[in-house]
Structures are given as C-alpha cells and as structure tokens.
Amino acid sequence: MKVSFWGVRGSIPISGVTTKKYGGNTSCISISSDNSDSLIILDAGTGIRELGQTIIHDNTVKNIHIFFTHAHWDHIQGLVYFEPLYRSGYKITIYSPVKEGKSIERILDTVFGDAFSRLSRNDWNADVRIIEFDDSTALTIKGGYTISSSPLNHPWDADAYRIEHNGNVCVYVTDTAPFDHLILGHEFIGKSPDLSTLPVSGEIASLEKMKSGLINLCNNADLIVYDTMFLSDDYNRNPHWGHSTPEHAIEICKKVNADHLVLFHHAPERTDEMLDQMSEKYSLSRNPLITVARENTSVFITKSGEQ
C-alpha cells in the first residue's frame, strides 16, 4: 500500500519560501496498491490539483474514489481544479456518510456554483457517481479496499477513515480535537472555554464513546495520519477549534500499537524550520515511528508483502 501526500496544510494554503520544504497545499492524500487500478483519495484540499495532473500524466489509474472527512474549505477547495473530473475515460465516485443536516449534493452545488466557480458540474466529462453510505458499516469497493469510518471531535462534525487492503491498514484522522474536555458539534463557541471546568458531566460519556470508536477504528493500524495542527500552547488557547497536538496523537497510537504516526494538517504559520524542529524532537521514537508529513512524498506499507 502506497500512501502519498499531496497537501499537508490546514486552514488555508500558504505560499512562499518559508514553507517550500513541507509544502503549502491544503489536505489531500492518496492511497494505492500495486495490484489494483483503483485510487483512493482522502480530502480535496488544494493538493488534489497536483494529484489530478499526475493522474492524467501517468495514465494508469482510471477508477478514482474520493472521500471527504468534512466540508470545511481546506478539505474541498481543490476539487474544482481536479482535472480528471473534466476528462472522459475516468470513473470517479464521490462518497459521503449519511448525516443529519448534511447533503453532499448541496455541498457540491455550492462548491461548483456560479457565485464561486466558472466551472460547473455540467462541465464534468468523467463518469461521476455520488454515493451516500451508512457509516455504521464498512464499505467494500472495487480493487479490494475496505473502508470504515468513525466520528471525530470537530465543529460541524468530521470523520476518520480506515482503509484496508490485503492486510495493510492506513487510518486518516483529521480534523479532530482530543477527547478530554469538550464535545464540538453544531453550536458555535466564540470564546476559549475554561478547561479547568471541563468536561461537564453530561459530556463525559459522549467523549469516551467517541474516543473508543476512534481507537477501534485505529486497531492494529500500520500507519496513522493524524491532525496535529496544534502545539500544547495552541490547544490551551483554542481547545474549541477542533485540533490536536502530537501528544494527543501519540496517546491514541500507543493504545492501538500503531507502527507509524505521520503528523499532519500543519498550521499555515508553521514554517519549515519549525517542522524540522518537530521532526527532530520525535526522531528517536520507535513505538510508534513518528514522521512529519511533507508534500510530494509517499509512505509504503509492506506488511503483507505488497506495496
């Protein structure tokens, strides 16, 4: 299994010399295997544009499966410029878990609407299907992939995804707050809450349920890609923004005995120098191995002997 990083940034793309090493594109990773012509794409931040060009150039992948963790712009803003959508010969399936108050059709209509975009859904020449699925059961898709999901702790919801192929397992966990203080839902929280008073008793069970759901999803994962947009000071200042620190991610990885943690969804202000320091800080860790996500790189999972 090959996990490739096309956009590793959170919130908003960032351009310039201070982020050129790790990259400035927003969230997008792809998963492929050497005995499958299907490609899984997780999120469609601006990184998906470059991925689209690579797919056209390489001309090997024809079946594309796109999953979104949620519809915040940094996870969907590149979709309009995903070139295979406009080319015939590609079979593209867009998946969305069924959720109350959410409609993938409405989201796509807005993203490709006249106000924002000169390109519309009518311009698509690929064979595009949209599938809403029940996220309480695993989904099997062509190419031998099994996809399952679990809810995350993020404003207006998000989902983690587990992708299995021939015994290799990658779990994609973004965006999420930890499960220690407060449940983030549809209510807008304008000011940083006082962490010393949290969690309130009514939320403890819900937090534990969400955490155990994620731990089950991550069980025996070879690779976990985790939202670590925050450092501990950031989290203490803004626990209501819905992001984690490396320590939160490490806690989950240790519980499930994951082999490899990739720190992901870097804050736009996190420079290459800062990310180098983060990489150095965790370089001696072996349980799990910890690396920092970097654009245009890939991680190979070879537990089952395939790539």
């Binding site: 908003i12 351009s15 310039g16 050129k20 544009r49 915040h72 924002f116």
Partner: protein, 278 residues
C-alpha cells in the same frame, strides 16, 4: 499612493518551488493612504498572509478600520476572508465596498456557512463588518483617496473595475475581465490616463487544462494599456499552471507585442511582497 501586492494568482493557490519568485497566493492588493488608512482590493489567500503582517499595527488589535473592495465573487477573490485576522478581532471595523451590480455580502455569507467554515456566519466574526453599495457614478472617499467602481461583463458574471485617485496619481485595478468589442472601449475609457494599470493577464482557454496555451496571456492588457495611455502596466491573475519562467516568457511577449503602440509604456509582472510608490 503606496500599492502593495500580496496575492497575484488566479483560480486556485499554487504554493511550491515553481511559483516562489512571483507567488502562489490568490488575489490581494493593498493601497495605503498618507494617514495610514488601509484599502484592500480583493480577499484571496494573499489577504490572509498580509493580515499576519498587519497585526503588527497596534490599531489592528482592537481599534482599527480596514476598507476592503471585492471585485468579483470567484474563489480567487474571496477565499482568504475567513482567515483575515483583523476581521476576527473585536473592536475592529471592516468596511466592505461593493458595486450595486454584485452582491458580495451574500457570497461571503455563503462562503462562511457552517458546513464550510467554523465561523458559521459573518456575525460570528469579532469585528464589525459593514457592507456599502455604490453605483458607477458615485465616489467612495477614504482620506485623500477618491475611489470609483464600475462593472464590466466577465463570462456569465460581472466584475468590478476599481479606479483610485489621490491628488497626484491614479491607479486602476482590472482584476478579472473578459474583453469584447463592446466592452473594450469602455474599459479603455475607464483606464484612460492612469499612472498604473493592474490588469488580469488570463487570456481564456480551458481553465482546467494544465497544459493550456498561454501564448496570448497579457496581450489584451497591453492593448488596453497602450490605448488608454497609461504609464505602467502591471500584469496579474496568473493561471495556476504557469511557473515563474512561464511568467517571464509572457512578460517578454507583452513587451514585444505588436499591440503596444506606446514605446514609453512600462510593463511589469506583479509579484507577491512588492511595494510600488506612485
């Protein structure tokens, strides 16, 4: 008049080594008055980058006023607004100016709706965000700056041209425009006599195609600048497929263009981080 460039890219941001010289952020320009008043033109991702620098100003931490003109509703003109830090700070005021023909307010509200943004609605931003609509013959006065907005056809939509004048100089921003035989005369009239014309360089074609032909990019801008008698033309809104070398090729073709009838016309590429004093 001081003009600053924070985002010069059209369509979608393109960070990376290929765009390091001229920049990969989407559209954002700044004009600063002698008194330090700020006028932003467009709210692409460059506005977010600019706003981190703006927070060094004491007034932007709770008593500041920022004036913003958004010329078009497309992604490259609006997508940085959610991360424009002064708009998130209580006590600040953000005045957003729009032409009567274009409803920027509704588009920004749609952009920050709950499914798409943790802010959920503009009223959750900490600052006082106000919208002002103007007709083509009305003047927006900000300190010594007199500002006029006029709309022109742009595909199926309309785009706003912005003319900013102080007592000594005139700058015109045409950030996204589609020329046709009817509109080009009006565009030339609107730009006539400007010291600086900052003009869309995209010449059309298949937006999605990463290998589109860009040999005509900038040529219509040269035609307008030359006919309008402007002193300096600055090309902007580069297609996402273009790297730094491609842009320099476009500049060379524009300098050598047969459409340029004015040998005195200075032509440059807009570049993130540049500041021009007129």
């Amino acid at each position: 008049m001081k003009i600053s460039f924070h985002g010069v890219r059209g369509f979608i941001p393109v960070p990376g080594a290929r765009t390091l010289c001229y920049g990969g952020n989407t559209l954002s320009f700044g004009v600063e008055t002698e008194n330090g008043s700020l006028v932003g033109i467009d709210a692409g991702t460059g506005l977010s980058t600019w706003s981190r620098a703006l927070m060094a100003r004491a007034d932007m931490r709770g008593s500041g006023k920022f004036n913003l003109i958004i010329t078009h509703t497309g992604y490259e003109h609006v997508q940085g607004f959610s991360f424009f830090i002064p708009a998130l700070v209580g006590g600040n005021t953000v005045n957003i100016y729009q032409h009567n023909d274009i409803n920027i307010a509704d588009v920004l509200e749609s952009q920050v709706a709950a499914e798409f943004s943790p802010m959920q609605t503009l009223s959750n931003f900490g600052s006082d965000i106000k919208f002002f609509s103007y007709k083509s013959d009305e003047i927006i006065q900000i300190d010594e700056l007199s500002i006029v907005l006029q709309t022109f056809p742009c595909g199926n939509s309309k785009s706003t041209a912005v003319k900013i004048q102080d007592k000594n100089s005139t700058a015109v921003f045409l950030t996204q425009v589609t020329h046709n035989t009817e509109s080009i005369k009006k565009i030339i009239d609107f730009s006539s006599g400007a010291d600086i014309l900052i003009h869309d360089s995209f010449s059309g074609g298949d937006i999605t195609n990463s290998s589109r032909d860009f040999s005509n990019d900038g040529q219509q801008a040269v035609e307008v600048a030359s006919a309008a008698g402007v002193s300096k033309l600055i090309l902007t809104r580069y297609h996402h497929s273009l790297d730094d070398k491609n842009l320099e090729d476009i500049l060379k073709r524009c300098i050598d263009s047969p459409s340029n009838k004015n040998p005195e016309l200075c032509i440059e590429l807009s570049r993130e981080g540049n500041i021009i004093l007129i």
